[in-house]
Amino acid sequence: MRSDLTAGGAESPSWLLRLAAWGGLVFLHFPILIILLYAFNTEEAAFSFPPKGFTLHWFSVAFGREDVLEAIGLSLKIACLATVIAMVLGTLAAAALYRRSFFGKESLTLMMVLPIALPGIITGLALLNGFKQLGIEPGVLTIVIGHATFCVVIVYNNVVARFRRTSYSLIEASMDLGADGWQTFRYIILPNLSSALLAGGMLAFALSFDELIVTTFTAGHEKPLPLWLLNQLTRPRDVPVTNVVAMLVMLVTMVPVLLAYLLSRGGDSVAGSGK
């Protein structure tokens, strides 16, 4: 018996494989659809299914709530600051590590991956402990430091991949033609990196906006959006408002990923694509 290999290299799958593959995709999206559905639910206690009716009422309620608006603003601020720091540090590290190999290079890469590879609870506790010993009061600053620490590797992965594809002779040519370091960076390196840098930045933003575990340790009295949500889940009240906020958070974390994908299509790859 021969396997069904078509000319294009794509096999024609059996119905079982087709079912399993599409079933897997449905499994991944079903809970997300439920969140979208429940945000428009008319009920006060939105745990029953199917929903009795649909309304936009809870959106206006949610946006009238001081605590919700504050949490959104705080999370946006943290994500922006952490992303900027991660972009600077990640680009510096990528520029240093992409071409030359030297003693300790492997450990440097490992050090950048560790904050995201080790369970968040370890990173969180370690940072909290470190801040305590330095006498830094937990607050916005400590949250930003924590987020930036694990966002660096995301930017690094994207930028280093682009650096490897950028010919070094471009940089040498620029220097030969009389440009100084800043000009070379501004007119040669940066335009080359821009889309990779932007994609990495957006992923870092999404990661920071949603981060919960490290944040619980470094937040002190601050309540960014994921913490606000967790608080609602452990003590359920205002279910409709929670549903609306949940949908918004989901969209804010999904849209940057989509944009990053579109930006880095065509030969380039986003972190995690594994190609």
């Binding site: 991944l28 439920i34 510096l92 370091g181 070379t184 594994g274």
Partner: protein, 309 residues
Amino acid sequence: MTPPSAPTPMRRIASMLYRRPNFYLLLLLTPPLLWFGIIYIGSLLSLLWQGFYTFDDFTMTVSTDLTLQNFVNLFQPANYDIILRTLGMAIAVTLFSALLAFPVAYYMARCCSERMKAVFYIGVMLPMWASYIVKVYAWTLLLSKDGVLYWFASLLHLDGVVDALLQLPGIGGKTLSTSNLGRFLVFTYIWLPFMILPIQAVLERLPPSVLQASADLGATPRQTLLHVILPLAVPGVAAGSIFTFSLTLGDYIVPQLVGPPGYFLGSMVYAQQGAIGNMPMAAAFTLVPIVLIAVYLSIVKRMGAFDAL
């Protein structure tokens, strides 16, 4: 002809850096090195060091007398149970997500047009990146009594099946949302994309000629799958399992929101440092996932996981 003008200061710095690549490298590396070295590695080491401090049960205070007692305490039956419970869940989640991920990855890698592959790729990336806490929240809605799953079960007249599942020892419970089965489903759902992508990447790199050779030599598709494709996909599964294993091991939000009472490693660390205030014991507990993950990494490294990352 005019003589070349004197180089600007910026230009002089640029040439100087070009001639001293090591200095330039150091300059580039200093900010990230300082950041990670001081903030991250420093905190991490200082945390682990606290595992050797002494906690006084009566005064509830920490003294800096060094002791190994905290690490010995990890092997008390109660603590040992926590480690085994978490480890068991991490292994179960890893195995089941590999099972679910394989067909999706295979279909993505080998049976799709380029267009469809992009659809699947985004279809896996979006749930992977969608907010963690919102995904957990969605599952509390799905699993709750009168929730979506119960509704579907009764629609399909499967209430009996759900009840029977919940009667099973070990995985059962009063309702789906307080059972180990529910917790297991949530974990599997959340980490599944991390398993799909590496397997897909490995399968995509399989040369078609290998499969053709297998078929030409008389293997049935089933034999090709078992003896050619699966062994070659092992590095991808191993790479994916790093994520499913270590992420489950350190999680403390899901065990808190879904499933029966009883500590997980993460929730124990959280309780020790927070409510109980025993930082040395919390620090000792953080060593458990670190050691387990290190052991796990050394195993999967032999399976070629790092080449597939």
